[in-house]
């Protein structure tokens, strides 16, 4: 994405600076304790899930073996077995994939909707802004889990429906977060210069304004992945996620509580997987925020 020849070079080109600093962002992330911990946790968890897709898992997630039901962790069953004799380790792997799949789609939905709304509200202002931000306020007044609850009940449980429900609930946050920087960048000299030079609105928007919010967006996306995993797990805990026999992590926790006394591994391992995923993304998001905004109140 090089700047075409003949284009006057603005004093500060966020595209160029974003590109040149991309490597140093990774380095600064790794230099921080929370960034490194978050990165390691996320990579390990994601790999743990993804390798199951190419068949690297000890057992099939739905293979039943009633003679070995509720057996504790052992060499053959690393995390033990559940009440149907299914391998908990393989089910956790599958659960991670499901959870990531739903969360990534959900975050994609809220990023696109929220960013578009935020940019439109910030850049266009006026009535558009009032209507968009008013709707965002409305969605904020309904706790997002309730909204997701209603949407999932309406659409029926399933991967895409959960994703949509979670995505809609979080879109207002993106709109808010994006609108702020757009408002301030809109008044920046290089954006005004673009307008004076007769660049199309679209060009100004995509080449000059969007890159300026990319840092905020990166932080928000990472944190949103953590929330999405949390909400997805809560929904499936309430029985509103992908229906059994899919091994959604929240559902596994809910089933695991029934056997908590005799078979703690049914509760502990899926719960640990959820916690690890959320903490991983939270740490990563915090570190990203520190990297992009050195004044964010941390010492």
């Amino acid at each position: 994405m090089s700047v075409s020849v003949g284009t006057p070079q603005p004093a500060f080109d966020p595209v160029a600076s974003a590109q040149s600093s991309r490597r140093s962002i990774a380095r600064r992330l790794w230099a921080r304790g929370n960034g490194r911990a978050g990165l390691i946790i996320v990579v390990v968890m994601v790999l743990l899930g993804l390798v199951s897709l190419i068949g690297v898992q000890p057992h099939g997630p739905n293979d039943q073996d009633v003679y070995h039901a509720l057996k504790g962790p052992s060499g053959t069953h690393l995390f033990g077995t559940d009440s149907y004799g299914r391998d908990v380790f393989s089910r956790v792997q599958h659960g991670i994939v499901l959870s990531l799949e739903i969360s990534v789609i959900a975050v994609a939905i809220c990023t696109v909707i929220g960013t578009l709304a935020g940019v439109a509200a910030g850049y266009l202002g006026g009535v558009v802004s009032a209507v968009l931000m008013g709707s965002a306020d409305l969605l904020f007044a309904v706790p997002s889990i309730l909204l997701a609850l209603a949407i999932v009940t309406a659409l029926g449980p399933g991967t895409l429906d959960s994703a949509l429900a979670i995505g809609i609930g979080y879109a207002p946050i993106f709109a808010r977060v994006v609108r702020g920087p757009v408002l301030s960048v809109r008044e920046a000299d290089y954006v005004k210069a673009g307008a004076v030079l007769g660049f199309s609105r679209r060009r100004v928007l995509f080449r000059h304004i969007l890159p300026a919010v990319s840092g905020v967006l990166a932080v928000q996306i990472t944190l949103a992945l953590g929330w999405a995993i949390l909400t997805e797990a809560s929904l499936s805990f309430l029985g509103l996620g992908p229906p059994p026999p899919a091994s959604s992590l929240g559902l596994m926790v809910s089933e695991g509580t029934n056997f908590a006394r005799t078979a703690w591994w049914n509760l502990a391992f899926p719960a640990a997987a959820i916690v690890a995923l959320i903490i991983g993304f939270n740490l990563l998001g915090d570190a990203l925020r520190d990297v992009f905004d050195p004044t964010s109140g941390r010492d």
Partner: protein, 345 residues
């Protein structure tokens, strides 16, 4: 960053220079009250419309919900009669208008499942949720502010480290995991499960009521405490860098006085914001926690009613949740004015 920010008192038009301070303050307050109330009512109307539409998108209707498969056995005449009874055939705006008209008369409709009025159902469920939310909030604020102050008092030391670890796990562990683990540990290790007895009201049996609510409140309070801790720590560190804190230290004030009276007092504003946001999160969390600990609160009422297509109850319960949220926002603004003289123009 939140609804709170946008609902902050709008700066009133600058009054003529000779207006006296007291009158100015009175006028600003009146204007602020009007704006805040209008905003709150507007939000509630919008929420009512959204809820109404979302619930109408649910597949099935009251007939299939109450009769199940046997709804297929109904004759067309019976179908028509039931349609008429439930008001199903009417256009959506008419249905909405009936509902809205009822609300204005203090009538939220009838539960099609239990036959009781929605107002009475909410009346019995709301105190449970309210008590749970307030208890959780108290636990969360104590945990959060105490650990946040301890962490900020000695950055990088043990207090800071343990506070940050608490925040990391408090935010990372979903409340249903904490709740499920608590139930599992209490019932299996201690053979203690207060929720197995039927719910006791605060006034009928305060001790049993406390036993039944303390663990759900703890479940929710940990998450709130973690968020409040981080805000407290950050705000305290920010304020500590300011010049007036240095001069307070310089004139030889005791550490406790500097931290308590100078730093914490000024850090209270972001803490208030965060607490308001967390209260909203708490209201959503009660839905899950009430389910785990079998508490007959508003959240449980909501889940049951959504599952049973009991529209009137679901609408009423959601509306009460939203009203609670709006009220908390207003309350947050009032607290701002109490702790920050600058907002009191």
């Amino acid at each position: 960053m939140s609804a709170l920010e946008s609902s902050l008192p709008q700066a009133p038009a600058p009054p003529p220079a000779q207006t006296r301070g007291a009158r100015r303050r009175g006028r600003g307050l009146a204007r602020w009250t009007t704006v805040t109330l209008l905003r709150g009512v507007g939000t509630l109307i919008g929420v009512a419309i959204v809820i109404f539409i979302v619930l109408r998108l649910l597949p099935g209707n009251q007939i299939t919900a109450s009769l199940g498969v046997s709804a297929g056995l109904l004759t067309p005449a019976q179908h028509r009669a039931l349609n008429h009874f439930y008001g199903i055939g009417q256009p959506l705006p008419t249905q909405f208008w009936h509902w809205a008209d009822g609300i204005l008369h203090g009538n939220l409709g009838l539960s099609t499942q239990s036959g009781r009025t929605v107002t009475s159902l909410i009346g019995t469920a709301l105190p449970v949720t309210l008590e749970l939310a307030i208890l959780s909030m108290i636990i969360g604020l104590i945990l959060g502010i105490a650990s946040g102050v301890a962490a900020a008092a000695a950055p990088g030391r043990f207090g800071d480290w343990s506070g940050q670890t608490f925040a990391l796990f408090g935010l990372g562990i979903p409340n249903f995991v904490i709740g499920a683990a608590l139930v599992a540990i209490l019932s299996n290790v201690f053979h203690y499960f207060p929720s197995s007895k039927s719910y006791a009201g605060l006034f009928s049996d305060p001790w049993l009521n406390f036993q039944q609510l303390i663990f759900p409140a703890l479940t929710l309070g940990i998450g709130v405490g973690a968020a409040v801790m981080r805000t407290t720590r950050g705000a305290m560190l920010d304020v500590s860098r300011l010049a007036f804190v240095r001069s307070a230290r310089g004139k030889g004030l005791a550490r406790r006085v500097v931290i308590g009276r100078h730093v914490l007092r000024n850090a209270l504003i972001p803490i208030t914001t965060m607490s308001g946001i967390q209260f909203g999160y708490l209201l959503g969390g009660t839905v899950i926690v009430e389910q785990i600990f079998v508490l007959p609160g508003l959240g449980r009422l909501l889940i049951t009613s959504v599952q049973e297509h009991d529209y009137a109850v679901a609408q009423g319960a959601t509306l009460v949740f939203a009203a609670g949220f709006v009220l908390v926002n207003i309350l947050t603004d009032v607290i701002y004015m109490l702790i920050d003289p600058r907002v009191r123009t």
